[in-house]
């Protein structure tokens, strides 16, 4: 619990017309922690990730990165300071090779306006980052395939590989395991375990076994508000959470 707070929110709210998709959310993401976000469909989990990444503007409240107010920053500016996100719906460059998908992400870390007329694809520093990300996500063998030809599970892995190539400090993961096979899921959980020491991770995930096996902190959201935040044990034991969301223990395992 001693890791530095990298990303935090204060009274974050987002309304869509009369709907309070996120209402007064305050949470802290610390380096060295997997912070899981649970809640039924429509609880506002994806909205929260979109507010944190800047994809949608906030209605009120603040987003802070290492204590600095970044509420007004555009998505690309948040990416550049170290906030990486993955998408629930696969959001890749389908016409490019797997390697080019990642290479572009690595290129984004370059100071602007340098190396104007050089061959981007032959630039070693990008390729080193790309190789490592492909290796970590298990995509090395398909590096030269077109992304659109990959299986759904592989595209989900690529989704993460792209994000890793931007060398983020904070990872906002929107259902990274959705659509992955068992083997792929296990590999991904191992990957997250390896990353957590040096990153702050926010994990939205429906696979309860995965969540409870890896999370250090769990926040449960219902109808746009935070119901409870605590350790996995506290959340499992909470009668409030049981009533509002998890239902009986028997249901939990196959939500």
């Amino acid at each position: 619990m001693t890791g530095e707070v990298l990303l935090s929110t204060v009274g974050l709210s987002r309304r869509f017309g009369g709907l309070r998709a996120n209402d007064n959310i305050s949470l802290e993401l610390r380096r060295g922690q997997v912070h899981a976000l649970l809640g039924p469909n429509g609880a506002g989990k994806s909205t929260l990730i979109n507010l944190l990444s800047g994809d949608i503007p906030v209605s009120s409240g603040k987003v802070l990165y290492r204590g600095e107010d970044i509420t007004a920053l555009a998505p690309h500016e948040r990416s550049r300071i170290g906030i990486g996100r993955s998408y629930q719906k696969t959001n890749i460059f389908p016409g490019f090779t797997v390697q080019e998908n990642c290479r572009l992400a690595a290129q984004s870390r370059e100071p602007r306006g340098t190396r104007i007329f050089s061959d981007a694809a032959a630039y070693r520093p990008y390729l080193v980052v790309v190789e490592e990300a492909l290796d970590r996500t298990g995509l090395s063998d398909v590096a030269h395939r077109r992304a659109s030809e990959l299986s759904h599970g592989q595209q989900r892995q690529l989704e993460l590989a792209i994000m890793l190539c931007t060398s983020p400090k904070v990872l906002l993961l929107d259902e990274p395991l959705a659509g992955m096979g068992h083997e792929e899921s296990l590999r991904m959980i191992e990957l997250l375990r390896g990353l957590v020491a040096s990153h702050a991770i926010l994990l939205v995930e429906h696979d309860m076994d995965a969540v409870f096996s890896i999370a250090d902190v769990v926040t449960v959201m219902v109808n746009g508000v935070v119901l409870q935040t605590g350790t996995p044990q506290q959340i499992r034991a909470s009668s409030e959470v049981q009533n509002a969301y998890l239902g009986s223990e028997g249901e939990v395992s196959h939500v």
């Binding site: 994809d55 990416s79 490019f96 984004s108 602007r112 104007i116 694809a121 931007t166």
Partner: protein, 326 residues
């Protein structure tokens, strides 16, 4: 192995095409030499639009504005105000003015997307059209301006080449077309070019991984505008004058058709497109005065059956041959 043979085949085709273009003026058919010169200028124009259309994913319907402005810079500097008629001053001026104009317009239009982008680019081009149609200080009239002569190439009394000679102008334009192609090839594999293609592929994700998408689009829009300005300048030199029709929406539509005909997002697509377009125009206009109708029909058929453009013909034929053998 197959990729080796196809890239070899392509290289051979390019070499043959270039050789043919190099030899063409030796036939001393001035009419056709000028026709090919005009086509190569249109090719430069089409290549510049393809940077937006095929590589950045921006459908501009006002690209003729930059083409026309490039020509008008020469006419105003060299003829109306007689500041200078030197090639070495008017050509850079034409490129600089179109770069500036497209940069400023880009600041506004690039904030829109899709259908709206098509409409605002068209609207801005119409504004420029009427400026050159009606504003006297900009040579405003529907007849335009006749140049008082080709730009002079003299440097301190020494004249390296003479643009009044049909063949010399031809080679000058050919050299610039090749230069533009080499520039594009280098740009497309550079980090900037890769980022532009990323924007075409998935703009949203580009922003999410940290690219300032608007700035990149503005760079593409300005570059494309400048190259179109170069083409317009050459077009004015060749035609010996300018008129507002250079900026008309017909002109914007024609260049769009050239890019689509040739093949979007293909380095040589603009060249193939311009040559196909002019050839179609010449062929149909020889046997009917309703040539626009026939041109339209041919284009519809080509787009239906060759959606990747004329440049994909070789690959299509090869695939057919392979299938019939199997």
């Amino acid at each position: 192995m197959r990729s080796l043979t196809t890239s070899r085949g392509r290289l051979a085709a390019i070499a043959a095409g270039l050789l043919l273009l190099l030899m063409f003026p030796q036939f001393e058919q001035d009419f056709y030499t000028e026709l090919v010169t005009r086509t190569m200028i249109l090719a430069i124009f089409a290549i510049s639009l393809d940077l937006l259309l095929g590589y950045t994913g921006l459908i501009s319907f006002g690209h003729a504005a930059w083409f026309g402005i490039g020509g008008y810079v020469l006419a105003l500097l060299g003829t109306q105000y007689q500041v200078t008629n030197s090639l070495w001053l008017t050509l850079p001026a034409a490129i600089a003015v179109t770069a500036l104009a497209s940069f400023v317009v880009g600041l506004f239009v690039l904030r829109t997307r899709g259908m709206f982008f098509i409409m605002v680019t068209l609207a801005f081009a119409q504004i420029f059209y009427y400026l050159f149609h009606d504003v006297k200080s900009l040579g405003g009239s529907s007849d335009g301006l006749n140049l008082r002569g080709k730009p002079s190439t003299a440097i301190n009394g020494w004249t390296p080449f003479d643009l009044t000679e049909t063949a010399t102008l031809y080679y000058f334009v050919l050299a610039l077309m090749v230069a533009v192609l080499v520039f594009m090839a280098a740009l497309l594999r550079s980090p900037l070019g890769r980022a532009l293609q990323g924007i075409r592929e998935n703009e949203h994700r580009m922003a999410a991984i940290g690219f300032p998408v608007l700035r990149y689009k503005l760079a593409a829009f300005t570059l494309a505008g400048s190259i179109a300005g170069l083409a317009g300048y050459l077009y004015a030199v060749l035609g010996g004058g300018v008129n507002p029709e250079l900026l008309s929406w017909h002109q914007s539509a024609d260049v769009l058709l050239m890019v689509i005909l040739g093949g979007m997002g293909q380095l040589l697509g603009g060249v193939v497109g311009a040559f196909s377009f002019v050839l179609l125009q010449e062929l149909t206009s020889t046997f009917t005065k309703d040539w626009h109708l026939w041109l339209g029909i041919v284009i519809v058929l080509l787009v239906l059956f060759l959606p990747d453009g004329m440049i994909s013909i070789a690959a299509r034929v090869k695939a057919l041959v392979r299938r019939s053998r199997a």
